[in-house]
Structures are given as C-alpha cells and as structure tokens.
C-alpha cells in the first residue's frame, strides 16, 4: 500500500470518528434541551400555583369583607359564622403561600408584610363586629366607607398585586433565559446533525468509491492472473519445444556421428589385418634379401603402423563411448515420465543389494536411514540414487574404512535426500563442474567418462528437482537431491 492510500484510509477513519463524535454531541444537546423544557414547565406550574394562592387569598379577603358587611347591615348570625370560618382559614393560606415562595426572599418579605396587614385587617374587622354586637353603631368600621378599612384592604390588594406581578416577571425572565438555552442547544444539535449527515454521506461516497475501485482491481487482478497463467503455459510450451529440439539435435548428431565412426573403426581393423601379411613379407625379405629391407620399412611395419592403429582404435572407442553417453542422455530426456508412489526405502535397499559384491569387497558400511515416500518416476530416481551411491563407493579413500549414509526428510512440498560418504572428497572449485558432461575432478585413477553426474543432474531436473554437492578435499562428500514430493504427471514427451 502506498503513502497516498494510507493517508486516504486515515482520512476515512477520521471522518467516521468525527461522525460518531457529532452523533454524541447532537444526542447531548437534545437531552439538555429536553431537560430545560421540563424545567420551564415546572416553573410555570409553580408560578401558576403561587398566583392561584394569591387569588385564593384575595377571594377569602373579599368573602370576609362581604360577610362583615352582611353582618353589620343585617345582623344575621349566619354572616358571622361565614366570617369566623374564613378568618380561621386565612393564616393557613398565608402559610401555604410562604411555603410556595420559600425560594424567593423578596416574596417572603412580601408574604410576611401581607401576614401583618391581614392580621391588622382582621383585627379591624373583628373590632367592628364586636362593636356591632355590643350595639355601638358609631364605632369606626361601622360605615362601609370607613377610611381605615379602605386603606388596609387597599394595601392588601396592592401587595397581592405586587406579589402576583413579581411572580409573573420572574417567570417571564426565567422563561426567556431558558428559551435562549433551548435555542442554543437546538442549534448545536442541528449543526451536529448536519455535520453528521455530511460526514455520513461523505463516508458512504468514499466507501462506495473504494468498493468500486476494489472490484475493478479484483477484476484486473483476475485478468492479470489469467494472463500470467497463459504466459507461463506459453513459456513452458516454448521451453518444452526448445528442450525437445535440443534432444532431437543431440540424438541426430550422435546418431549420425556413429556412422562415420563405424567406417573409421572398420577400416582401422582392415589396416590392422593388413599389418600381418606385411610383417610376414618383411620377415621373408629379411631372410632372403636382407639388404633390401631398410630401417624405415622395419620401423613402419613393426612400430609405426601398429602404434598408429592402436591410437586410432582407442580414440575411436572413446569417441564411441562419448557418443553413446550423449545418445543415452538424449534418449532419457525423451522418455515419458510415469510418476508413481515410490517406496524409497525399498528402492535404496535394492540398490545397496545390487552393489553388495563391491560393498563386501571394500568393507564399506552402508547406513540407510528411513526415507519418505515420493511420487515420482521410479526409473529416473533409481538411476539418480544408484549413480550417487556407486560414486560414493567408487571414490572412497583407500586408507580409511568407508561409511556411506543415505538419509532423507520432508521439507514442505519437497523431499530432500542426501548421500553422504567419508571418501576422498571433491575440491570446492569443482562442485559445479562435476555435473557437466565429460567433466571429472581429482586424481583420474578410476574408470569413467564423466557422464554419471551429468546424467544425474539431467534426471533431477526432469523430475523437477535440483542436485548439489558439499564437500572438502579428503573429507568426504554429501550430495543433496531435492525433489518435489509429488511430481505432476505428463511432463516431457516421447516424441
């Protein structure tokens, strides 16, 4: 992932986080506004209660006044009773008021003032009633227009009005304040909701865009994959074609080389056969006319010719072996592989058994550790292992008892097989070279053409494997064969 992509992802994450944050703020604002509204309701109720209480008091006052006047004018005892009941009620109502306005010092003060005035007024009224009872008619209060009476009731009315309006003012002020708060929280909520909305739309847009890009990328990847597969298939086919071409070339070349070689060998033999009558002739000449036989003729017939023929022969024989090796390699390369489950333990045992004669003769200790089963071409793996084991026996050191260990293990989808010996070892500079055709390493005291390991490598490659060597001079050698555990069938061709 590149830097731009990472920054973009970080931005998306930040946007989503912002969205959630805005959601919390909006919810908070709504809750706050709701609580404020509830508060206002309570306060309004409170104010109405107070106003109702004030109105109630006023009503009681008026009822007292009415009862007093009734009594004063008519002298009826029923009016007196009404008066007494109402007068007893008034202090309770004032106490209720005091309770309701306990949170407001101004109103408390007014209530206390009202209490005094009410007491004052009640006293006046009681006095006037007492006077009436006593039959005094000229006492103050007897008239409906008594000045003291009017003043006190006026004061009471004024005070209740003041209290009422004060309460109303208070309610208004509070409501205004609360309304401002509600407005603010609502605004905050709306702003937060708007941002939330924007962020969600932005995020949805980005996610949609990302998903679209992802599916496009997926499609491209699929196409690329298909391309890659076909490219690999094409390349493989090309390689197989090239390989088949080389194999065919090697086959034709080696085959056609044999034909002249047959002639060289044949006519060399004819020459060799011709030496015999010639030397007989020479002997006869030496016997009968010794002077005619020159040293040159003697040298030619007795030394030069046989030696030349001998060299031609050995060279031709060697060339024949080399050509045969190439032929064998090319033929092996053209053979159809037949993968099957190969019991490597049985295979190694059979190879060791087939070499038992030499093993016993040289006193070699063979150690075959358990090997995993491999699905591969049995003939090829057998040739590889028998070549490696034969080499191990062939290049042991004469002055120490030979030990050859064959071991193997699974490594994921491959199998590693090792053939280790304590023989004469291979110079590290030759570790690659020994796998080349006709190349050998070390003292040339053993027969061979330098074909075995070339053959091993060619076979290992055909089985989809590799072969390598670790060794130091005089310290033995380990050949490591790495093979796929399961060789795919139908590799190579028999064309």
């Amino acid at each position: 992932m590149n830097t731009a992509q990472r920054q973009f992802n970080r931005a998306i994450f930040a946007a989503i986080a912002t969205g959630f944050f805005m959601l919390i703020i909006a919810a908070g604002a709504v809750v706050w506004a709701f609580q404020r509204t509830q508060d206002i309701g309570q306060r309004v109720t409170h104010s109405i209660e107070i106003e109702a209480a004030i109105a109630n008091l006023n009503r009681l006052d008026e009822r007292i006044e009415a009862a007093r006047r009734g009594f004063l004018l008519e002298g009826d005892k029923r009016f007196l009773r009404t008066f007494e009941v109402t007068a007893a009620e008034i202090p309770h109502k004032i106490n209720d008021m005091a309770k309701l306005t306990a949170d407001n010092p101004d109103q408390i003060r007014r209530v206390e003032q009202y209490r005094k005035l009410a007491k004052n007024y009640l006293d006046l009224v009681e006095k006037s009633i007492a006077n009436k009872r006593a039959g005094i008619t000229t006492v103050p209060g007897s008239s409906l227009l008594d000045k003291a009476d009017i003043a006190v009731s006026q004061q009471l009315r004024d005070l209740s009005d003041t209290m009422s309006s004060a309460e109303r003012d208070l309610l208004e002020k509070r409501t205004t304040r609360e309304h401002a708060g509600i407005l603010l929280s609502t605004s905050i909520g709306i702003v937060a909701a708007t941002i939330l909305l924007l962020v969600s739309f932005g995020t949805i847009w980005v996610v949609r865009r990302t998903l679209a890009a992802l599916s496009v990328a997926g499609e491209q990847l699929r196409l690329l994959n298909g391309d890659l597969e076909s490219a690999v298939a094409e390349r493989t086919a090309e390689l197989q074609r090239a390989n088949a071409e080389i194999q065919r070339f090697a086959y034709i070349v080696s085959h056609d080389l044999r034909s002249p070689l047959v002639n060289v060998m044949g006519f060399t033999s004819e020459l060799a056969a011709a030496i015999e009558p010639l030397s007989e002739l020479l002997e006869m000449a030496e016997e009968r006319i010794p002077d005619s036989v020159t040293d040159e003729a003697r040298y030619a017939v007795r030394e030069n010719l046989p030696e030349s023929v001998g060299f031609i022969r050995t060279s031709t024989e060697k060339m024949d072996r080399l050509i045969n090796a190439i032929l064998r390699l090319s033929r092996e390369g053209r053979r159809m592989l037949a993968p099957e489950a190969v019991d490597m333990n049985a295979l190694v045992t059979s190879i060791i058994d087939s070499l038992q004669h030499r093993v016993g003769e040289l006193g070699v200790t063979m150690k075959a550790e358990p090997l995993p089963t491999v699905i591969t071409d049995k003939l090829a793996i057998e040739q590889i292992l028998s070549n490696l084991i034969e080499n191990a026996i062939k290049y042991l050191k004469a002055d120490r008892p030979g030990t050859i260990i064959i071991r193997g293990q699974k490594e994921n989808s491959r199998v590693l097989i090792e053939v280790e010996d304590n023989g004469r070892g291979i110079d590290p500079k030759d570790h690659e070279r020994i796998f080349d055709l006709f190349r050998r390493s070390g003292t040339q005291d053993q027969p061979g053409e330098g074909i075995g390991l070339a053959h091993v490598r060619a076979l290992a490659h055909r089985l989809g494997g590799t072969i390598s060597c670790t060794s130091a001079l005089e310290n033995g050698a380990t050949f490591r064969l790495s093979l796929p555990k399961d060789l795919a069938p139908q590799q190579g061709s028999n064309t």
């Binding site: 085959h255 056609d256 044999r258 034909s259 002249p260 070689l261 047959v262 002639n263 060998m265 044949g266 006519f267 060399t268 033999s269 004819e270 031709t316 024989e317 024949d320 033929r331």
Partner: protein, 148 residues
Amino acid sequence: MRKPQTVNIVMIEDDEGHARLIERNIRRAGVNNEIRHFMEGTAALQYLFDSADGPAKNGPALVLLDLNLPDMSGIDVLQRMKAPDSPLKRTPVVVLTTTDDKVEIERCYDLGANVYITKPVNYETFAQAIRQLGLFLSVIQVPDTDVS
C-alpha cells in the same frame, strides 16, 4: 524339391565405407552370391519391383537394408516390401543400421524385418556378425517370389 537358385544379395546402403566393409566380410565368409549395391532408396525400389532382372520378376533375393538413406527412410522400403500385396513380402530382409534404439528395432520387426543387426563401432563384432550372416546365407532357403 525345388531347383536351387542363386540368391542375389541386394544391399541398400548409402555409406560406401559400410557397404565395402559389409561386402568384404560377406566374401570372407565364403559367400560368392552376386551383391547389388544401391546408395539410395528410389533406385533400390525400382530395381526390386520393376527391373527385369530384379527379385520381383526374376528369382529369389535377400535384402540388406540400412535405415538411413538420403532420399527416404529404410523403414519406407521395408514397408513397401512387406506390404500384403507385395510380391516381395516373403523376401528376407536384414536390417543393418547404427541405431540400437529399442523402439526402432521393435518397429522394424513389427513391419516384417527378418533380422536386425546393429552396426557396432567395435569392428570385430561387426565383422563376425556379417560373416555369420554369410554362413547363414549359404544355408537358408530363400523362398521364391510371388510371380503370379
């Protein structure tokens, strides 16, 4: 009893050296039958099938056949000779070639080759094989061709 006829040897071999070596060894075995040498398939087929003194028209023959010919494969010659309607289907054919490829050898026998000899580079073996072939030639009864 059939009247013994001289068997002509038809050698189809593009390599003159090989032809010479084969001839010498046949002669060394004491076989003195006439040897007709052809360097290419076309001329050989023409002789085998159409020539007035060729084996199809005149007398028994034995064919020594090399598989590598310049103008065709020896296999083609073998196929023509051993075809079901060929007058030469009973004529013995000795395939002589450098190939020791198992598939090729099997194919030749499948097509009706009577003997298959690999020309080994080891001359002694080769010479011996040819000489034995010569001895073999001197005793075998070569059937008449189907001249109908």
